[in-house]
C-alpha cells in the first residue's frame, strides 16, 4: 500500500515503475478528501472526549459501587464489542432516521462513542483495580473533598488507563467503516467512508495515499501515547 501511494502511474501497478508524490498532492488538493479527513479528525477527537468521560464515569460506577442491575449494565456497556457492527448499524440507522441525525456530526459522535465505550471502560477498570483506595482515605483525612480527591489523587494515578482508553476511542472512531456507511450523508463523510466510495468509483491511487495517511496518523497517536505512559510510569 505504501509503495503504491508513491507510484507515478494512475493505476495500481505493482511494483511501481516510477515514483512521485502526485497522489498525495491530489489528496490534499481535492476538497472532498480534505473534508473527509477534517470530518474524521473532528469526529475522532470528539468521540475520544465523550467516550473517555462517559467510560471513566461508568468504570468508576461499575468497580466502586454495588447496585441492582450492575451485572446487566456492565454487559450492556461492553456489548458493542461482541455484537456484530452491522446489527448496531441497522438499529442506529432506523433510530437516526427518525431523529433526523443522519449525516450530522452529533450523530457520528454518538454512534462512534457507543462503539468506543468498551475500549475505555476496560483499561480504566483495570487501572482502578490496581489503585490503593487507602490513598483516597488519606486525601480525605487531609481535608480534600470528594471531587478534589478524585481530581488530585485518583485521576492522576489511573491516568495511564484513561489515556489508553482515549487513544483506543479515537482509533475506533477513525477506523470505523460499517456503521459510518449507514449514517453518512453526501455532506458529511468520514475518511474511511470516502475511501470506500473511492474504491467503488475511482480507480486512481489517491486511496493508497489516504490509507497510508490513516496508517501514519494512528501509528503516531499510539506511539506518542505509549511513550507518554512509559515516561509517567518511570517518573511515578
Amino acid at each position: 500500500m505504501i509503495p503504491l501511494s508513491f507510484t507515478d502511474r494512475p493505476t495500481f501497478t505493482f511494483p511501481p515503475t516510477g515514483w512521485s508524490t502526485q497522489w498525495y498532492a491530489n489528496f490534499f488538493s481535492d476538497p472532498s478528501w480534505m473534508a473527509a479527513l477534517q470530518a474524521s479528525i473532528q469526529v475522532g477527537v470528539l468521540v475520544a472526549i465523550v467516550a473517555t468521560v462517559c467510560g471513566t464515569a461508568a468504570a468508576l460506577a461499575l468497580s466502586r459501587t454495588r447496585f441492582f442491575g450492575q451485572q446487566g449494565l456492565r454487559a450492556l456497556l461492553l456489548a458493542p464489542m461482541l455484537v456484530p457492527v452491522i446489527v448496531i448499524a441497522i438499529g442506529l440507522y432506523a433510530l437516526f432516521l427518525r431523529l433526523n441525525l443522519l449525516g450530522t456530526t452529533f450523530g457520528f459522535v454518538v454512534a462512534h462513542s457507543v462503539l468506543a465505550l468498551p475500549f475505555v471502560i476496560i483499561p480504566v477498570m483495570a487501572s482502578l483495580q490496581g489503585f490503593d483506595r487507602r490513598l483516597e482515605d488519606a486525601a480525605a483525612i487531609c481535608g480534600a473533598g470528594r471531587w478534589t480527591t478524585f481530581r488530585t489523587v485518583t485521576l492522576p494515578l489511573v491516568a495511564p488507563g484513561v489515556l489508553s482508553g482515549a487513544v483506543f476511542a479515537f482509533a475506533t472512531s477513525f477506523d470505523e467503516v460499517v456503521l459510518s456507511l449507514f449514517i453518512q450523508s453526501p455532506y458529511l463523510q468520514t475518511l474511511p467512508v470516502r475511501m470506500y466510495s473511492s474504491v467503488t468509483r475511482d480507480t486512481d491511487p489517491t486511496i493508497a495515499a489516504a490509507a497510508t495517511l490513516i496508517l501514519a496518523l494512528t501509528t503516531v497517536v499510539t506511539v506518542l501515547a505509549s511513550l507518554y505512559a512509559t515516561r509517567r510510569r518511570n517518573a511515578g
Binding site: D132, L135, D137, A138, I141, C142, T148, T149, V153, G236
Partner: protein, 377 residues
C-alpha cells in the same frame, strides 16, 4: 513546631458506640474517652474492633448507633475531610505521584494556606521527623521507615488536635520500630496533640501509652495505664494479652481465697468471688520463686510441680514447670537469683499474695484444664 502554633489536643468521647456490618457486630456499644493531649492506645487481637473504632473516629466507617464527640461536639455526620484530624496509615498511604514535599504540603493546600507559609510549615514538619533533606524525592525512593516518617509529617503539618495512628509500625522491622517508637513518643510530648494509636503489639502499647484500652470480641475488657493493666488485670484476657502470666486454676473458697488441686491459695488483687466459682490465680512469671528444697516456713502460697524445661536468656532464665493438674506455668528467674532446679526435678513454686490476682476463669477456661496452654511465650 513552635509552641504558639500547637493547639491543645482535643478530647474524644465515645458513648455506646456500635458498628454493625449486617449481622456481624464489629464494635459492641463501647464507652471510651480520650482526654485532651493523651496518648491512648487501642490494643487487641485482630478482629477485636480496635481498627473499626479508629475508622469511626476518622469518619471512614459510619456509626451504627451511639455517640461520637470530639471536644464535646457530635461528629457522627461529619465527613472525614471536615473533621480536622490527622492520620497515619499502616501502609503509609503516601501519594506516589507527588514528591515528599508535595505530600506534606497536600493538607495545607486543602486549607488554602498561602505559599510562603506552606513552605515554612512543610520544612518544619520534615525537620521534625529528620527528613529535611529529602523533600524532592518520590516516596518510592525512600525506605519503609522514611516513608512512615513522611506520613507522620503529613499528618501533623496542619497541627490537627487529634492524631490517629493505625498500626503505623506494623510493616517495619524490629530495630526500626524501636527507634520510631521513641520518635513518636517525643513528637507526642512536643505537640500536645491527642494521639489515638491502634496496635496488636503489647510491648508497643506499654512503651508508648498514657492509657490503654484492651479490646476483645468487639468490647473493651479494661482501660487503664500500662502499670494498672499489667499489675492489676481485671480479666484473664487482659492478664494473658499483656505480658506473660502464669495461671493456677482452681475453685473459689470465697473472697480472694481459692483451692487449687488441694493447695490453698490467697491473692490480694482482683475482684472477690463467690464460693465454688471457677477461678484462676494469676501471677507474673518474674514474681514466682522456685524452691528446690520445699517451701520455706511461712510461705502463704506454695504449689508443687516438675521442671519441664529451662531456657537460659543471659539476663534471666525461663523455667517451665508442670503442675499436678497438667498445667504448665512459666517462671522467670533474674540473673542474680537462678535456682539449681533442672529438668525433671520435683520442686515447689511460691509467690506472695501481693503479687497474685484472682480472676474469673470464664467460659473459655474450664476450672482445671488437663492441657497445658497458659503461658504465652
Amino acid at each position: 513546631m513552635p509552641d504558639d502554633r500547637s493547639p491543645q489536643g482535643a478530647s474524644i468521647t465515645m458513648r455506646n458506640l456500635t458498628k454493625r456490618y449486617g449481622d456481624f457486630t464489629a464494635v459492641d456499644s463501647i464507652d471510651l474517652e480520650a482526654r485532651p493531649g493523651e496518648f491512648l492506645t487501642l490494643l487487641g487481637p485482630s478482629g477485636s474492633g480496635k481498627t473499626t473504632t479508629l475508622n469511626m473516629i476518622a469518619g471512614f466507617a459510619d456509626v451504627t448507633s451511639g455517640d461520637l464527640l470530639i471536644d464535646g461536639r457530635a461528629v457522627t455526620n461529619l465527613p472525614p475531610y471536615k473533621r480536622n484530624i490527622g492520620m497515619v496509615f499502616q501502609h503509609y498511604a503516601l501519594f506516589p505521584h507527588m514528591t515528599v514535599a508535595q505530600n506534606v504540603e497536600y493538607p495545607l493546600r486543602q486549607r488554602k494556606i498561602p505559599g510562603a507559609e506552606r513552605r515554612t510549615l512543610v520544612e518544619q514538619a520534615l525537620e521534625m521527623v529528620g527528613l529535611g533533606h529529602l523533600g524532592r524525592r518520590r516516596p518510592k525512593e525512600l525506605s519503609g521507615g522514611q516513608q512512615q516518617r513522611v506520613a507522620l509529617a503529613r499528618a501533623m503539618v496542619y497541627s490537627p488536635r487529634v492524631l490517629l495512628m493505625d498500626e503505623p509500625l506494623g510493616a517495619l522491622d524490629k530495630k526500626l520500630r524501636d527507634s520510631l517508637q521513641l520518635e513518636i513518643k517525643r513528637i507526642h510530648a512536643d505537640l500536645g496533640t491527642t494521639f489515638v494509636y491502634v496496635t496488636h503489639d503489647q510491648d508497643e502499647a506499654l512503651i508508648l501509652s498514657d492509657r490503654i484500652a484492651v479490646f476483645n470480641n468487639a468490647r473493651i475488657e479494661q482501660i487503664g495505664s500500662p502499670t494498672e493493666l499489667y499489675e492489676y488485670p481485671n480479666t484473664l484476657f487482659v492478664a494473658q494479652f499483656l505480658g506473660e502470666s502464669s495461671l493456677f486454676h482452681g475453685v473459689s473458697e470465697g473472697g480472694r481465697e481459692a483451692d487449687s488441686n488441694g493447695h490453698h491459695l490467697c491473692a490480694v488483687r482482683g475482684p472477690e468471688h463467690a464460693r465454688g466459682a471457677g477461678i484462676a490465680v494469676v501471677v507474673r512469671p518474674e514474681r514466682i520463686r522456685i524452691e528446690p528444697d520445699g517451701p520455706p516456713p511461712g510461705s502463704v502460697n506454695a504449689v508443687p510441680g516438675t521442671v519441664v524445661q529451662h531456657i537460659y536468656l543471659g539476663n534471666s532464665r525461663k523455667v517451665e514447670v508442670r503442675l499436678d493438674d497438667g498445667t504448665v506455668v512459666l517462671v522467670r528467674e533474674s540473673a542474680g537469683a537462678i535456682s539449681s532446679a533442672s529438668v525433671d526435678d520435683r520442686i515447689w513454686l511460691t509467690f506472695h499474695p501481693d503479687d497474685a490476682a484472682i480472676l474469673a476463669s470464664g467460659d473459655s477456661q474450664p476450672a482445671a484444664p488437663k492441657q497445658a496452654a497458659t503461658a504465652s511465650l
